[in-house]
């Protein structure tokens, strides 16, 4: 098993390298990061040239990638533009944990990202909990009443949920629970931000502001996941050991929730494990609509200002999370199901 994990980790290295190379090349053409630097005033051309040199943007892309990856403290760079490289660089490179400085606010890119990451993780983990429990509930219910009216209704609704673009769900919920509830004088839900600045960032405020984003994410994910639970539950319920359990007179409740669900939960774990890191990324639209100060919004803001270090940092973080979760899921799966052997 440990050999398998080591092999997977070794395979992940060239993959991450390839991803970083592809992304780095694409990011070079995102736009001019210097264009927005001067604020409202136009940047003077000599300032432009100096900034370009200082940020290392005058170098060919291969050199820029190398500096990004391995840093430039071992190389001499030409800062004053006299053609002589005399200053040694200070960047350590991604391999040594330095993602560079944001071109927008001159803070370390990782610091900028880490400031926002907890907000995204909070939203996503809460959403995932709702999704898992909700789809288990819906899926098991539909499986126990296969082809009944409720089952068909759930099937139709899940198709609709699956086809619904996330912004449509978000706008619809906002319109009903925020705008109309307010108009009718009912207690209404907030639509933007993480907390009311007049009240401050209290636990209650954050939870209250999280309701709409979580429901939005959950509605679009319920569909596929509950279908999946339904089919694995149906398969488990058709097994011989379930019939044996029934024959022994075990209560229906424990047959469903212990005997069947235990075995049906294996594939569900896979789905959750593979989905989780993608939720990290899937938040772009949700965070934008609900003005949630998370990583997805950070990404949008910094893409529009061509801030390569931060954008690269976010993308590599997500790629790393996806690969890690893939390995964890595989290992967990083998651990839970002794029939599975790698190698």
């Amino acid at each position: 098993m440990s050999r398998y994990i080591v092999r997977r980790l070794l395979q992940a290295i060239p993959l991450l390298f390839l991803i970083s190379l592809l992304l780095f090349v694409m990011l070079q053409n995102m736009g001019d990061p210097l264009a927005t630097m001067g604020g409202r005033t136009m940047t003077r051309s000599e300032d432009r040239a100096r900034l370009t040199r200082q940020l290392g943007l005058d170098k060919p892309i291969t050199v820029q990638y190398l500096y990004w990856l391995a840093g430039n403290d071992w190389a001499k760079i030409d800062l004053d533009g006299d053609g002589v490289a005399e200053t040694s660089g200070i960047r350590k490179g991604v391999l040594r944990g330095d993602f560079g400085y944001s071109l927008v606010n001159r803070q370390p890119a990782m610091e900028v990202i880490m400031e926002r990451l907890p907000n995204t993780i909070l939203l996503m983990l809460s959403a995932e909990v709702v999704i898992v429990f909700g789809s288990l509930l819906i899926g098991i219910y539909a499986a126990l009443r296969q082809y009944s009216f409720t089952d068909n209704l759930v099937t139709t609704l899940s198709f609709i949920g699956y086809s619904m673009p996330i912004f449509f769900v978000a706008l619809g919920l906002m319109y009903i629970f925020a705008v109309n509830f307010k108009a009718w004088g009912l207690p209404y839900l907030p639509t933007v931000g993480m907390f009311d600045p007049r009240v401050g960032k209290t636990l209650w405020q954050v939870a209250w502001h999280m309701i709409l984003p979580i429901i939005t994410i959950a509605i679009t994910s319920f569909a596929a996941n509950s279908r999946y639970v339904r089919s694995t539950m149906l398969e488990a319920l058709g097994q011989d050991y379930i019939r044996t359990a029934k024959a022994k007179g075990i209560p229906r409740r424990s047959i469903v929730f212990i005997h069947a669900l235990k075995n049906a939960s294996l594939p569900i774990i896979t789905v959750v494990g593979l989905d989780l890191p993608f939720l990290l990324g899937g938040a772009v639209v949700t965070e934008r609509i609900f003005a949630w100060p998370g990583m997805g919004r950070l990404f949008l803001d910094h893409v529009s200002r061509a801030d390569t270090p931060v954008v690269m940092g976010i993308l590599m973080l997500i790629a790393f999370a996806v690969i890690t979760f893939q390995i964890i899921t595989d290992v967990l799966y083998a651990w839970l199901d002794p029939r599975i052997r790698y190698n």
Binding site: M30, I160, S163, P165, V285, V311, V322
Partner: protein
């Protein structure tokens, strides 16, 4: 159909014992598809939506759809403007007609790009294997690992603004339409490539491929005349769902403001910024284009689901 009129009054015990006429794959698939109620409903809805987009063009001109009049901005639905007017006073009904055309165009062409790239890469890796397989599959994995929406946003910036307006069928299109088509096609292919590769891996071990090789059929002949036609069923399903996926993705990037640029309307970019007006109770900005996206994606998904069942060779239903 005539083949169904059975003069024999005896009850039929099971479908397997029926004397079935020889049917081609498409006839068989059609017969199974018709039984799929959801799929037929989906197909009819899809047809109606296409008619709406094409037929609507005879009612409204494109100039009218792009004509803005600030004095009538943000008007609620009325008899004059059934879907209301948008933030700069354009008629939303007319814009959904022309926006639908662009959304459909993007869905179809992005799917074609996706399927072409996916089939070529899937066929090459599945058939030849070896270093080519390892290299291209690593590429596929690399594209799959970064969530598609991020790739799309980065690529939209990469190609954005580089393409000038183009002229097709005597109509002016924003160059961003081409950009969107390309980037959706170029990020969605890994799914198709994996499906095609799996098909090729299993099919190439069959006896009829050995026979074809023994009779001296060229490699390209084997790939395109023997293996590819046999793996057409999953490709058709992937293509159908690919259209729905492309329409949704276009809506996402346009919604985030990096997609198709106005005045060219799409169902996606009509929604851009609609959330800024939601507090004022203005629902018609997002409700109608959003409903149309939902309807078309839903109906395509139903059709795809029906096709999956109808084209399944293991299915015994007729």
């Amino acid at each position: 159909m005539a083949t169904h009129s059975n003069p024999d009054p005896r009850p039929v015990s099971s479908p397997d014992e029926l004397e079935t006429p020889v049917l081609t794959l498409s006839q068989l698939a059609w017969r199974r598809f018709r039984r799929h109620k959801m799929a037929v409903t989906g197909a009819i809805t899809l047809l109606l939506l296409v008619l709406y987009c094409i037929g609507g063009a005879f009612v409204f001109t494109e100039e009218f759809a792009n004509y803005n009049d600030l004095s009538i901005k943000l008007q609620p639905p009325s008899s004059e403007h059934p879907f209301g007017t948008d933030t700069i006073g354009r008629d939303i009904l007319a814009r959904t007609v022309y926006g639908g055309q662009i959304s459909l165009l993007i869905g179809l062409t992005a799917m074609i790009v996706e399927i072409m790239v996916g089939v070529v890469i899937g066929a090459l890796t599945g058939y030849f294997g070896g270093w080519l397989d390892s290299l291209l599959m690593r590429m596929t994995e690399a594209v799959l690992i970064v969530p598609q929406i991020f790739l799309l946003l980065v690529m939209a910036k990469f190609f954005g603004g580089a393409v000038s307006n183009i002229n097709i069928f005597g109509r002016e299109f924003s160059g961003s339409v081409v950009v969107i088509i390309l980037i959706i096609g170029l990020t969605a292919w890994p799914y198709t490539a994996r499906i095609v590769r799996a098909q090729f891996l299993s099919l190439k071990e069959n006896e009829f491929i050995l026979a074809a090789r023994a009779t001296g059929t060229s490699t390209w002949g084997i790939i395109f005349r023997h293996i590819l036609p046999n793996s057409i069923a999953p490709i058709v399903v992937a293509a159908t769902l690919g259209i729905a996926n492309a329409i949704t993705l276009e809506a996402y990037i346009s919604f985030l403001g990096l997609g198709v640029r106005p005045p060219t309307a799409t169902w996606g970019n009509m929604l851009e910024g609609a959330y800024n007006y939601i507090d004022q109770g203005i629902y018609w900005l997002w409700l109608f284009p959003g409903l149309l996206i939902l309807l078309i994606v839903l109906s395509i998904n139903f059709v795809g689901d029906g096709l999956r069942d109808a084209l399944d060779p293991r299915s015994r239903a007729i």
